[in-house]
Amino acid sequence: MTPRHTPPRRGRRRRSPGPLVAAAALLAGAVGAGGTVALWSSDGSSPMGVVTAGDLDIDLVGSPVWRETSADVTGTPRAIEPADFLARPGDTVTLAQDFRTELQGDNMLGRITVDWEQPPALAVGVSATYSVRDSADALVVEDVALGDAGTLAPLDTDDDGRSDTFTLEVTIAFDREMDDRFAADAAAQVADLGTVVIDLDQVRAGEGFTS
C-alpha cells in the first residue's frame, strides 16, 4: 500500500469540489498493486465534476547576462556580448541566467537538476564551473565542474503553490599560461558550454513519501 503525502491543508486555490470518481478508481487500482501514482493532467471535466491539476513549470527569465570579470582589467565586471568578445589567457567571464519555477498541488514535490544534453567543450587551458543561487543570493549549488550534474534540494508545496527564482551562474576561466593563439587563421580556442539542461521534475520520494 502506498501512503499518500498529506501536507497541511491551506485554502485551496484551484481544485474544484466534487467526487473524483475516475481518479479514485485509478488510485484504487494502483494502490492495490502497491505502485506509486502521479495523477497529473490538464484540466478536465466529466459529468461527475471537474478535476483541476496542479502546476509544475520552469521558465527562463530574461536573457543570459554575460560579464567579463577579469580581476586585472579596469572597469570589470562589465557586460559583454559573447559572440563578439575575444577572450585571452588570463580572462574570466561569467554567464548568469535566471530561471523561475512554479509548483502547485498536494503531494507536489519538485526537484531541480542541472545536467547536460550536449557536453561542454573547453579548449586546453580553459576551465569552467557553475553554481546556482536562490532569490536570496544564497548558493544552493556551488562550484560544480561544468558537465557534472548538480541537484538542488527538493521544493515542497501545496495547493497554494510556490514560485521560486534561481540564477545559474557559469564561471569560465582562461588560464594565464594557456597557449596564445597566433594569427587570425589559427583555430580559435573555444569555451562551449554545451547544452545545459535545467530540469524541474516532480518526485514522490523523501519526507512524506515511502516510495
Binding site: 502497491g34 501514482v37 543570459p64 559572440a83 597566433f182 580559435a188 539542461v197 521534475d201
Partner: protein, 228 residues
Amino acid sequence: MRTTRHAVAVTLGALTGAALGIAGTSLALWSDTVTVTGRLSTGHEYFAVGAPGATVPAPTGSAPFTVGPDHAAELVRDGAIALPIQVDSLSQGNKGLHYTVTPPASWGENVFGAAQVSIFPVGSVEACHVDADIPTDVDLASTPVPATYTSDTEATTELWCLLAAYDGPPQVGEYTNTATVTATDPSGTEVDDEDRWDAVVVRELDPAAEQEHEITFTYETFRPGEER
C-alpha cells in the same frame, strides 16, 4: 535557448486504474525543462617583421631581419645604405604586445664590422635614408599595443631604419720606407739626400664573404598592469 515541456496527460478512468492495479506500474511524473547554451572564443595576436610590404610572421615569438653579402656589396659600392624594417603587431582582447630589437652581438670582421651601423625608429619608409639624422639614446623596444581591450583586426605598423656608413676598409697598419743616399761629388764634397714614402695597410674585405647578420625582433604579450 529553447524550452521544452513534457506533461503527460493521464486518462482518468476505472479501466486504467484497474490496469495499473494489475500491472503495479507507476505513471509518469511531470517534468519541465529549460536549456541554456553559450560559447566564447579567443582572440589572437600577430607579429611580423620584414622589408616594407613583405613582412614575415613570427609565430615563435622572434623574427630576424637579416643583412648579408648583397647589402655589404651595396655598402661598399655606395658608402652607405639605409634599410627600412617594418614591424606589424596585433594583440586582441585584454593583452598588449611589447617587443625588443636586438642587433647582433658583433657585426663581424668584414664590411659591416668596418661600418658604422645604427638602428632607430622612423615614422615612414621615406624617413629612412642615408642622410637621416641618427637619434641618440635610441630605445630598442616598443609597445605598439597596450593591454586595453581591443577587437582590432588590423595590425599596428611601426618602422625602423638600419643605417650603415662605410668609409672603406679599416686600417690595420702603416709602412714607412726611408731611403738615404750619401755620395761625394766631383769636387770632393760629401753630399747626401733622403727620401721617404709611406703606406697605409688596410684589411682586405670581401663583400661576397660577408656573413649574414640577424637583427632580432622578439615580442611578448602582457596583461593589464604588466606594461613594460
